[in-house]
Amino acid sequence: MNSLPLPPGLILIVGALLIPFLRGWAKSAYVVILPAIGFLNVICLTSSFAAGAEEEVLRWTFQFLDFELVFGRIDKFSLLFGHIFSLLAVAAFIFILHTRDNLEYVSGMVYAGSALGVVFAGDLVSLFVFWEMLTLCAVGCALSRRTSEARGAAFRYLVFHVAGGVVLMAGIIVHIVQTGSAEVAEMDLGSPGAWLIFLGFGVNCAWPLLHTWLPDAYSKAGIGGVVFMATFTTKTAVYTLARTFPGEEKLVWIGVAMVVLPLFWAMIENDLRKTLSYCLINQVGFMVVGVGIGSDLALNGTGAHAYCHILYKALLFMAIGAVMYRTGKSKATDLGGLYRSMPLTCLLCCIGAAASSFPFFGSFVAKSMIVSAAAESHHTAAWLALLFGAAGVFHLVGLKIPYFAFFSRDSGIRVKEAPTNMLIAMGLIAVLCFTIALPVVNFPWAGYRYLYGMLPFELEQAYEPYTFAHINAQLLLLAFAALAFVLSLLAGRYPAEVRAENLDVDFLYRRGGRVILDFLDRWLNAINAVTRRAVIDGGIARISRLCAAGPTWFAALAMRSVWEVQRLDAETIASKEAALYRRAEEGAVPIGVSAMLAAVMMAVALML
């Protein structure tokens, strides 16, 4: 314990290197103990930070070239994200304990370490390195499913995020050149560097039009890999946006679009993991709105909602993952009636669904802070959109997912309950979803006051979620959303689950890309062909012939004048000319002719 705390990401990244060399129970024990040490390390870091009086502490700083790398920017904001990232890593590794898959284990462990690296990075250079490591680990998590679909999705993920990474790197370089500082600090969109950084973060945050990698990769990734992906990528992006662009008004409207639009795709999606992915974008939209509002209450709400959302979304992905593990299916048309075979998984899924918004569960005490902040800052349209999103996501995550996976018609599938390690992982998160929102005070490690105590800003007026008005309003919203769901089902108006692929805006890239390719093929290749004919087949051949025959031609021209002065007859001149050409071809031109030709060339050169 005396050696703790260490740089939080380092423990997991370095520790991951040992995983492939372990076998059997030693490997299983190691992959749980290592993130548990990582979590303990963050707790130690929190304790040592709380003991000091500073608002921010910089630790583990190194000089690299002209930059000061900071691996430990410690304040309440970074500790909040560090706490939930390292805690979730423990649960996620318990969940995949049975797989003993090196690719999934190493990718997951380095993924968690890289996310912690981003969170605690105090400079843009080390942040960028950890940022790119996130991408590579996510690709590993996607590939861990080992299907051709997963390989395709992983490749598309890589293309998207490498492009985003290049934009981010360009932004960081321009920013450092312009400001001379590599510090992760608040920026405004007044410079090209800031714009590029903004856009680079936006790719990982799954902004509208840049979001298609998320449902694509998350629906095809490994059962455990998707838990890491759903936890780390978008939340680190939200964290970095909160660090660099708090109060940026554009984020409010980007967030509103994220809250509203994905719901329509989630509603008609047959693949339950895709439905969860669209709902994930919806909830990240809440956080982006919070960052855009930028008030202390909104940023506290963003942090709190990220914490709670990580918990319940991981639980839902785990529940559907457990169903996939047992049945091999994740589509609503293939599932149904699984409450008979997997009653505990069904119960845990329902707890995850309730935790998306129900009073006495995580999101109730967190998401409402962002909604209140929108109202307080007079963002009326955003407030209405957030309320719309809250009702919609309960409809989809809270009702559609459990209903079509576990209830609905009986699919006839009879399988075993999920493995014990999966149940323990899901049970742990379900307990956390509940305890983190309990209306108790001064209770160790539980209660919404414990969560609020971890939030970055001290509010002048403490936010109180458990008021009669708030509980009643939230229950009204949810109960009537449920009523709409039930009545539409009973009336046969609910969109039927059908086997289909729903196009997203990636259709535009793919179709647009093909149009561009055709255009380039038709026009640029036509220009290429004309140029080839004119230059390679025409011009260069002529120049080549000129270079080969030119000197002889000049020599013959000069010698003809000499032969005419000598009054030789035409036949003799023709034979001498033919002999000259033959000698030139054989490389046996008389020295006198060569010397005269050289003299003529020099005279021409001097005249020019």
Partner: protein
Amino acid sequence: MTDDEQKPMDLPALGDERPYVRAVARFWSRVCANPGRVVRGLIWVCGLLVVLDFMFLLPGVDKHAHFVWENGIGFYGAYGFVSCSLIFLISKHLVRPAVKRDEERHE
């Protein structure tokens, strides 16, 4: 006993003898055996919540509303109902016809 209040169906062959698993399975079995009761329960809850919303008309009970329309009786309920209805109507009638492609042969 009405049609929707049937006897809970026998548990299928779970092959899982753990008592807590069987207890949870029995609970779900009872819930699913009576879907009508669940629907009626939900309607009662909705009604009760609307009635509770009337309490904010009493003096001294404040909603701490930011917007005037929040003070309307059942505003949140109506908003939730309309929002969800809009989501499935727009999805079903506008979005799905535009984006649906064959699963095997989509572009």
